[in-house]
């Protein structure tokens, strides 16, 4: 099936859902005035459904936009690929959205024109009310078949000696403008009030320098690490183009080293790594 055919299907489906009044709106993508860039689009009217697009640039994650409306009067329709579905699972386990409030239209994804998609392990949606077309059936689900290592960004840094790592991050965080776009886009950053926004004494100093930015970077990684679904949105939206995905990749890689295969967002019932323990957990603490 071509992308165009898929796009037609999506438009028809969204229009039908709006016509039935089954949902209050449908979250998808539309074109922007920049070629190669799409934006999240809320179909609020049947006739707007034709603005929906599906091409190699429909990259942004739809799921985070569910948190805009946590107590909807009617179901919310949402188009979800593999990555979106992992995000939805996470939102459900974090009690941020309720499954009953969602109508999920699953879109098996053929991979987009984005580096992150090269190491995608989940192209087919995990959770959905309907699938709009045939599943991709695990192309690239096995880690050995990935076109790019799952933890590619972390491994870039790991290849550096310790001193050079410090310098690497010093360089990264010197450029960070603390705009918090990475946080805003992250599907597992769902606090009512982020710790960085709290005034008076708190965990995060307000100085704007590399050291304080670093505290933010590491803290953010720690806050989301064991729940990170590896969608890479943080890196995509960074206006400074900072390679920050490595931080969470490193956490997941470490978890795998400690406790075996680990992937967040696969199951809304699964506990996150730091929310449980095993009596036989490894440590090197003596």
């Amino acid at each position: 099936m071509t992308n165009e055919q898929k796009q037609t299907l999506m438009r028809e489906r969204a229009a039908a859902l709006m016509k039935d009044g089954a949902v209050s709106y449908v979250i998808g993508w539309r074109e922007t005035r920049f070629p190669g860039k799409t934006a999240i689009f809320f179909v609020r009217d049947e006739k707007d459904a034709d603005m929906l697009v599906w091409d190699e640039y429909t990259i942004p994650l739809t799921a985070k936009y569910l948190t805009e409306n946590r107590w909807p009067d009617k179901k919310i329709g949402i188009f979800a690929r593999g990555c979106d579905s992992k995000a939805i699972n996470r939102l459900i386990s974090d009690n941020q959205v309720e499954r009953e409030n969602l109508y999920i239209i699953g879109l098996p994804c053929e991979g987009k024109k984005d580096d992150r998609c090269l190491s995608c392990t989940q192209r087919d949606p995990l959770i959905y009310d309907e699938l709009l077309w045939e599943p991709e059936n695990a192309t690239g689900t096995s880690e050995t078949d990935l076109q790019r290592a799952r933890f590619f960004r972390a491994e870039e840094v790991e290849s550096l000696p310790t001193d050079a790592r410090f310098a690497h991050w010093e360089d990264v965080y010197a450029r960070c403008i603390r705009c918090y776009a990475c946080r805003n886009v992250c599907p597992v950053c769902t606090c009512r009030e982020c710790y960085v926004d709290m005034h008076r004494t708190g965990f995060q100093g307000k100085h704007h320098d590399a050291a304080e930015n670093r505290v933010f970077g590491v803290t953010r990684a720690f806050h989301v690490g064991d729940r990170c679904i590896e969608c890479g949105e943080c890196e995509r939206v960074c206006p400074m183009g900072l390679p920050i995905l490595g931080q969470t990749q490193k956490i997941i890689k470490t978890i795998e080293g400690l406790a075996g295969t680990y992937e967040a967002g696969m199951d809304p019932e699964a506990d996150s790594f730091l929310g449980k323990f095993d009596l036989d957990d490894k440590d090197t603490f003596m």
Partner: protein
């Protein structure tokens, strides 16, 4: 490196095991270097990794987190969470270019005064050797 470099090390110690062990070291008049400052917390599970970040941010030369041995936690399971959190934290610090020898987690029970003394002594020497 100056010979008289005295590192400042901060140690988060749980009230029931390590802090008690440290008290016992005092009671037995054991001697160890002055470089470690202890912050008393109810449980090593109370230690937020962000405390460690704050300490390094402020200029700590080394940070320690000490609690009861796994299985001995006064609150039964606190230190199991400590273990997970700080196994991750240590890796993440190293990943961020912070020498892992500057961060130590240790299980020290209320009776292990000698272990407290030895750990403080070792960690101080190690960090002194690393320099500023």
């Amino acid at each position: 490196m100056a010979v008289d470099y005295e590192p400042k090390i901060i140690a988060f110690c749980c009230n029931w095991c390590t802090y008690t062990g440290a008290d016992l070291a005092g009671l037995n008049r054991m001697k160890y270097p002055e470089n470690v400052r202890v912050v008393r917390v109810p449980c090593s599970g109370r230690v937020n990794p962000q405390f460690i970040l704050r300490a390094f941010r402020r200029g700590a030369d080394g940070v320690m987190v000490c609690g009861c041995h796994p299985g001995d936690c006064h609150y039964s399971t606190g230190n199991y969470f400590t273990r997970r959190r700080f196994m991750l934290m240590r890796e993440l610090l190293e990943f961020n270019g912070i020498d892992p020898r500057r961060f130590h987690a240790r299980w020290i029970s209320g009776s292990e005064a000698a272990k407290f003394r030895d750990t403080v002594t070792e960690v101080t020497q190690l960090i002194r050797s690393l320099g500023k």
